[in-house]
Symmetry: D2
Subunit: 342 residues, 4 copies
């Protein structure tokens, strides 16, 4: 029996990606799409690539009738999400793709986002949506908060190593390369093709990127003490994808063994043979994450490189993976399409 | 019941695209992959993006056991295909993706490809694989020859207009923009990123592109007399996609009406509202073709723009669409995934 | 003796390109830069690539002291230019890069730009800035209006052919491919890297592009009767450059001969050997224009392809070429740097 | 008086870049160009962007007449250079752009390049071509060996810090992002646009990149003891440019001060205001290197980011800078053109 799905904020990139993925999902049926500024328009006028689909027109959130809706994907901008989610009726399950409910306490939220959280009660209810590590909680949850795309990449690269005590926790260096769609369909000068093509540039240097809040929360929880990683993202001349290079201190072969054990049964996490490195393009438009491990000429150093598609595994694919669990479907339903290459 | 599929030439881009599409096909099962130069290797070492799939290793064509194989996709290089196909056992259906069997008579083949055809008997048997226009023949065929990717684009843009007598047949100008993957995974200087990035360049100017053989054959057949179009392709700094701009003489509104009638029931051909134009990215990695029609300030002129993904609708997607028909499946099986955007 | 140069609107792409070109000009000295929204900022904060230059800070136009200024490049947005230029003191020469003074009569301006011209008297004074064809007028002019970048490309491709009666004037088809910088540093959704990368799309279809006003004006003047060309631009995933493919009726060899005669002595216009085609990248960041000519398998058809860099030869380079003439310098001064390749 | 210049290996990218830079050099005159596989061809047929220049045709090296030649740029492939250079007559000065003479002793060369050096005597004569640090030796040298492009970037980022004892020498992590032209005009699968566009991938991981030999040699020399840096390059979907992110332990403000002192008078090295980061595009096609410094939320950590154009400051521009000194010209002659942006 199909599940009735509504998407709030369907006019953004993660909204469009949800629709794309649902186009081949065996049991999800889209019954409502909201987009405040585009309300009244057919989805095909906002995203012509969806022209062939029989989709409801965009409506305002306040016009959404939740009767009959089984699950809502909330792809609203940060801050808007916390204003909307508390009013969703209790019979509706929720997967939030915004940053609003990723941090577990109000103080952390305020530190990284610069203002008090408006829905602290809901924040407590939210289950952190990194499926591979919160599977059981997600299965029983009504409300799941998806991870940040950079935060997901970093956690796939480091969680098993921290948990197994495989690396020096006080010397973690992460250099991330991110395509532009992570910034959404937003009109900012540095996202113009003319500004970025044939270029690359660091941003949020010095430990100021908001996804660090998630690293701090999760890594410290695993380690049982405060962990602070060094993390510098760079903007790439590409549309989709994240590739993260981690420079760590530990035994490379043991690190690789740890990954093999941790991810051996995971359908979406692929650990490459020792010494091989992934390319960002190898996971394009898919729900897969590839991880490579190599040693270094300097003994005791290990390089871990992880890559995923920010819009899929980093956001909308992860959201569907969680929704599958929440609705009693196979976790992989609708998500096994191979990456698009070349 | 699943159909057992073999792919000859699986190490090329169209071979990899077939595997990608079959990764979500409900009833196709890959039982053999050949790749002469890569024989013995796992597919994941040639195409790491397919790492998660449980695929047979690449073998040599001569080591392929056709017992139990229902259908072969032949993604071999041009000229190799005609050497291999005649020896495929009769119980196996064949979809050829090469250029070898697209032209119906030996003289035309020799004119455009510069040497005599080596399998003239098979050439007669081959059904031309432009599904939307050869559906009935394809359903009953054992052997289908896929169209060229440029040729498919041009035919979607012009066949209904020629058939309906909507345009001046002696003044057809076609300016095509093609991404590089149409040239395959081949080591040629002009395909290097450094040579093509931030550039665009005409090639095969003056009416020398081989896909003109298909235009001549098909358009002349429809019109009942010789038709010669003017066709100039340009190479784009992009990986996938073709966008074709046709400058025609006729009534723009009547042209749009003709398309609406011809393609109204086609699942993969989308005719845009009058005056709207498609973007190449709107069909990326999908089996869809978008067509736009606009008039001009000069009365009696009409511009038709068609776009598709050369590796999907222009090649491997089309091949699966044909195989679906040949094997009694729904024509759209495994092909309805929405385009990847952005 | 150096000439004192002011640039109005230095915070846009054509303004920055003027500064770049002047960085190696032997006799131009920048004495003032205006940029209303960025007034007070150093140029290096708006354009960090100019950090090494000793440049004046950006100021408001009304704070510009024209005393001692020999020539002003006016790189203001369209419509702003006509408001500012009339108030520039008479001792200052002016090269305008906007669209405001390209059309010679008020009715044409109003037709293409949708409102009455605010400085009709100045419009009459303006000399059209296509140097190769207005050299003598430019030498003696106080006020020169630079051509549009697309308009320049089209005129280099067609003027000698129209003048020599080499082509059918009623059947001129122009398919233009343009990089994004022609649209300036403006925040528009379709200029985002995520929207355009790996894509191409027609725009201003149907004969609605404003540069058609220039074609109409100039081609009709040469032919002595009304000429209307068919012109369709397409947006490319690239930063700089225009490549224009013209589909014409005439004798290809005679067309090539006509170009050879017309451009044989031109320092910046390079006519390729017959049958060879230019690539957009071959003129990158330079003041050169490359033109290729080929015949077609259809007798009497000829394809002319012209390419130039929209920011250099199409705008700021052309402006300096004109300023050189107006100030008595060698026409090529500061402009002979080879294109940047790859 | 002009200096007569010959370029050996003019058909590669660094050869073409030398020609481009010399096109605006006030006192260099190209008298010979060699290119063994392209011998007999005009340069314009190998590099159409140089069509406007009056250049000698390509010849074989053995046909080069050294009489009257003042200086040779040797842009030959690695290993070829050491076979050719010993036979160049003594009156000719030499700037080598290959890797052959960068390492000072034969053992190091054999370690990194896998075979014995064929010209050990010449190796001793070669002056290391990092102009800013070997200026005096270069002025008096007959033979200068240009640095590797990655090696140059890393040295601009680290030399002053190592010399001043500003950072922990045992914990230097370097993550480099490189455009493809550093690999030359070579037919390799991973350099195809279809393979790399929309991607990024690490290569030479684990401390195996050959430019490490230069880091080891130079950094150890400065420090007076063995220094081993951790260095991982990544291939970018871009044509030109290198951006290097260094993760270091030290005081960020003191690091910035050290750069300000070291590079305050350098014409080509630009140190950004504290906390600002450079973009790769900001130095495109120029001889400039931009360096940014930022602290981190973790006390005692500092991030240094340096960027330059691999073909210009990393190779051919550096070569001309050295040649200027060797020939008694101003060091900046012909090299002050502003970067190309956007």
């Amino acid at each position: 029996m199909p599940h009735n799905i509504a998407i709030l904020g369907a006019s953004g990139y993660t909204g469009a990606e949800l629709v794309r993925l649902i186009s081949i999902h065996p049991s999800f049926r889209i019954v409502a799409l909201t987009g405040d500024r585009k309300a009244g328009q057919p989805m095909a006028s906002v995203y012509p690539h969806l022209r062939h689909m029989d989709l409801p027109d965009l409506i305002k959130i306040e016009d959404l009738d939740y009767a009959g809706v089984d699950l809502v994907f909330c792809a609203l901008p940060h801050a808007t999400s916390q204003a909307v989610i508390p009013s969703i009726p209790q019979h509706v399950k929720i997967v939030d793709l915004s940053a609003d409910f990723r941090l577990r306490n109000g103080a952390d939220y305020e530190k990284w986002y610069g203002k008090p959280h408006a829905a602290l009660e809901m924040q407590k209810e939210a289950v952190y949506g990194l499926t591979e590590f919160y599977r059981d909680e997600i299965k029983g949850a009504r409300f799941v908060a998806g991870t940040g795309c950079n935060a997901a990449t970093g956690q796939f690269a480091l969680r098993p190593l921290i948990a197994a005590g495989m690396i020096d926790l006080d010397d973690i260096v992460m250099d991330l390369k991110a395509a532009v769609s992570g910034a959404g369909r937003s009109l900012k000068e540095h996202l113009l093709l003319a500004e970025l093509d044939e270029s690359v540039k660091p941003y949020s240097v010095g430990g100021t990127h908001r996804h660090l809040g998630e690293f701090d929360q999760e890594f410290s929880k695993i380690a049982g003490r405060d962990i602070r990683v060094q993390f510098t993202p760079h903007l790439l001349p590409a549309t989709r994808g994240i590739l993260l290079s981690c420079y760590l201190k530990g035994d490379a072969q043991a690190v690789h063994d740890t990954f093999a054990r941790a991810y051996g049964d995971e359908p979406f996490i692929q650990v490459l043979p020792f010494g091989e490195m992934p390319a960002m393009k190898d996971v394009r438009a898919s729900n897969f994450c590839h991880i490579g491990v190599a040693g270094d000429r300097i003994p005791g150093r290990v390089t871990v490189v992880a890559t995923l598609d920010n819009l899929t595994k980093g956001s909308s694919g992860q959201a569907i993976q969680n929704a599958n669990l929440m609705l009693g479907e196979a976790e992989t339903a609708g998500l096994m399409a191979a990456p698009v290459y070349p």
